[in-house]
Every structure is written in C-alpha cells, then in structure tokens.
C-alpha cells in the first residue's frame, strides 16, 4: 500500500500541486499575499496530511506543518507582509518540495536543512519584535587561547545575514597580525552565504576553523572553503596558514 501511495502521491505532487504552488508563489511575489496563500493552502495541507500518513515521510509532514503555520500567520496578518516574510514563505514552500525530492531520491531528508528552515521560520514567526531581538542577540563570544583569538559561535544555526554580519564584525575588530580561530563546535548547520562572508576576510586575516561537524562540516567542504580557511584538525602546530590560505 505504501509504495502505491508513494507513487500516486509523487504523481499528484508533480502534476497537480507543484503547478498550484508555482501559481501561489507568483501571486505572493506580486504582492497579492491573500490570494497567494489561498492557493498554496490546499496543496500544502494535502502534502502535510499524506506525508504524515506515509512511513518515512514524517519529516516532510513536520516541515510542511511549520510552513503552513507561518503562512497562516501571514494570512491572519499577525505577521507583517514584509519583503523578508514573503521571501521566507517562498523559501519554506520551496524547501518542502526539496525535502520531498530528497526523500524520493535518497530515501531520507537532510535533517540539518529541515532544522535550519524550521528555526528561521520560528524566529520570524515570533513577530517582528522577537525577530529583532533575535537579530540583536550575540551569536558568538570572543576568547583568547594558545591558538590565538577565538571567535566561538554559540548559535546552533548560522543562516541569517545578521548572524554572518556579527561574525564578520567580530573578525574585523581583531588584529590582523595573529591568527583567528573560528570555533564552530556548537554549530549544527552553517549556511554557505555566511561561510562566504567569513571567507571574504581570509585574504586579510589568517582564519582557521575548529570543531566542524555534521551539516556545518558538509557545507564547508562542499563549497571548498577549506581552500581559504584551514580546519584546525588538519593543520599542524607549525602549519598556520598565511592570509589567503597558503601555509608558511
């Protein structure tokens, strides 16, 4: 039954829901938020319900539930129809389809990605006030140890521009004469955009990265950031890279 349901479901997703969703997203993008959400509601509700009923698809159901809640808040205008919130809604909807595709192709979703999407939606759904507080909250602490100045990242997810700005700001405030260690031991996922912002400084500061793991590590290597920022574990005591990533 489950295979037959999956087959039927995927056919419906491709033939029916995806075109509806594209239409809904187009309306959202054009500023017609109410009509856009009205069109998005039916396919998303169906995806949530059916994936919740299909073994192995529970993560997709949970993510869809979060996206649906976010859309309902936009619809009820408890969240402002700001450009950021509209973009986030579209991002959430697209993530649902990406996760379904991952499960279909790989047999399981990228849980790090799901967690990251849920966290961003949750932060935004907390309202502008809470979101601003979140943006203002320090996601890092500065320390000094034998390896040099340590920028310790405390937030488990680094995806917001404001978080990347904090990291960049912290590094900009450090002397260029000594190496900077970016400690990401507490980070579960780190967006490629945030990595790019930090990597842009690697020509001027010697940046080493410590504590890479999980989705954070995967993104780091997938985007070749190890070419400009050396992971500490792969770098001996005498191999501190010079700015630009070339070892002395």
């Amino acid at each position: 039954m489950s295979d037959a349901l999956s087959e039927e479901f995927f056919a419906e997703v491709g033939d029916k829901y995806y075109p509806q969703v594209l239409e809904g997203l187009e309306l959202l993008g054009a500023g017609d938020v109410g009509a856009g959400i009205e069109i998005l509601a039916r396919p998303l509700h169906t995806i949530k319900g059916v994936t919740g009923f299909m073994p192995g698809f529970e993560a997709a159901s949970l993510l869809t539930h979060k996206v649906e809640s976010f859309l309902k808040k936009l619809q009820a205008k408890t969240l402002p129809h700001s450009a950021d919130n509209i973009s986030l809604a579209a991002y959430g909807v697209n993530s649902v389809f990406a996760v379904i595709e991952q499960i279909r192709e790989l047999g399981e979703p990228d849980q790090g990605e799901i967690d990251a999407v849920c966290e961003v939606l949750l932060a935004a759904a907390g309202g502008e006030k809470q979101a601003n507080q979140g943006d203002g909250r320090a996601c890092l602490t500065l320390e000094q140890d034998a390896a040099g100045a340590v920028v310790r990242v405390n937030s488990p997810r680094i995806h917001k521009k404001s978080q990347a700005d904090q990291l960049v700001g912290a590094i900009l405030g450090l002397p260029q004469t000594s190496p900077v260690v970016l400690d990401v031991s507490a980070v579960k996922s780190f967006g490629s955009g945030a990595w790019e912002d930090v990597a842009a400084l690697a020509g001027m500061w010697t940046i080493r990265v410590r504590g890479l793991s999980g989705a954070c590590r995967e993104t780091f290597y997938a985007w070749d950031f190890d070419a400009v920022m050396s992971p500490v574990a792969e770098c001996g005591a005498d191999e501190i890279p010079t700015p630009g990533g070339i070892s002395q």
Partner: protein, 131 residues
C-alpha cells in the same frame, strides 16, 4: 469539547465512543446525511463540534461526500474555526487517502481497526491532548 462519531457499524460506534468519552461529549450518527444534520444543528445551538470521526463507506451518503458538503457549508456561511476531521476507515487506497486530505481537507487518517493509542496519537497531533 464536543465530538461526533459518524459510523455505520454498531461495534465501531461503540468502541470509538468509549475511546473518546473521557475527553469529549460524544454524539453518534450512522451516515453522511445524519452527520450533515448534526453538524448544522450543533452550529445552530451555538455549540459546534470540535472533532468529527468520519467513516467513509456508509449507506446513503458516504463520508467523503459528507465532508465535502460540510466544508462547503463552512465556506459559504462562513463558519469558523473549521472542524477537525479524522477519517476512520477500512479504505487505504492511495486515491481515497489523497482525496480525503485534498478535497475534504481532513486533519488525519486512520485505517481500521482503530486502536486507542493510534487515535490518541492523532488527537495529540491535533492539539486535543497536550500531555
């Protein structure tokens, strides 16, 4: 809270009522036509149902048609909040499952036999049980 059990089998009605009666004031009807009538009456009394357990295969009017008409009523009048509906049925073919969620906007789907733990798991998802 109020719940309506829509079920044509005597034993099914009995079991579902017993499962629910610690949490809900439970009414029971035997087909889709009676379900629609009970739904209208509950709104007219100002005490709408919070939950419907809806069988699909029933004489007279089946559960999917009844749900479709309930959603149409909610849309036209309009009635808010929309009632949460758990489909409780022996049918598990893909088209029926998808149709229940898409056309009927069902909140959940349980394939018979309905076990108490499965039912309560769904009730928890819907926010009727918080523990």
């Amino acid at each position: 809270m109020r719940a309506l059990v829509v079920e044509d089998e005597f034993l099914g009605r009995k079991v579902l009522s017993v499962f629910l009666n610690t949490l809900f004031e439970v009414d029971v009807v035997v087909n889709g036509i009676e379900a629609l009538e009970a739904f209208r009456l509950a709104h007219a009394e100002g005490r709408p149902y919070d939950l419907l357990l809806m069988d699909i295969m029933m004489p007279g009017m089946d559960g999917l048609e009844a749900l479709k008409q309930i959603r149409a009523l909610e849309q036209d009048l309009p009635l808010r909040p929309r009632v949460k509906v758990l489909m409780t049925t022996a049918l598990d073919d893909p088209k029926t499952v998808i149709r229940s969620f898409h056309d009927g906007e069902a909140s959940g789907y349980i394939v018979k036999p309905v076990r108490k733990d499965k039912l309560f798991e769904e009730l928890k998802k819907l926010g009727f049980i918080t523990a």
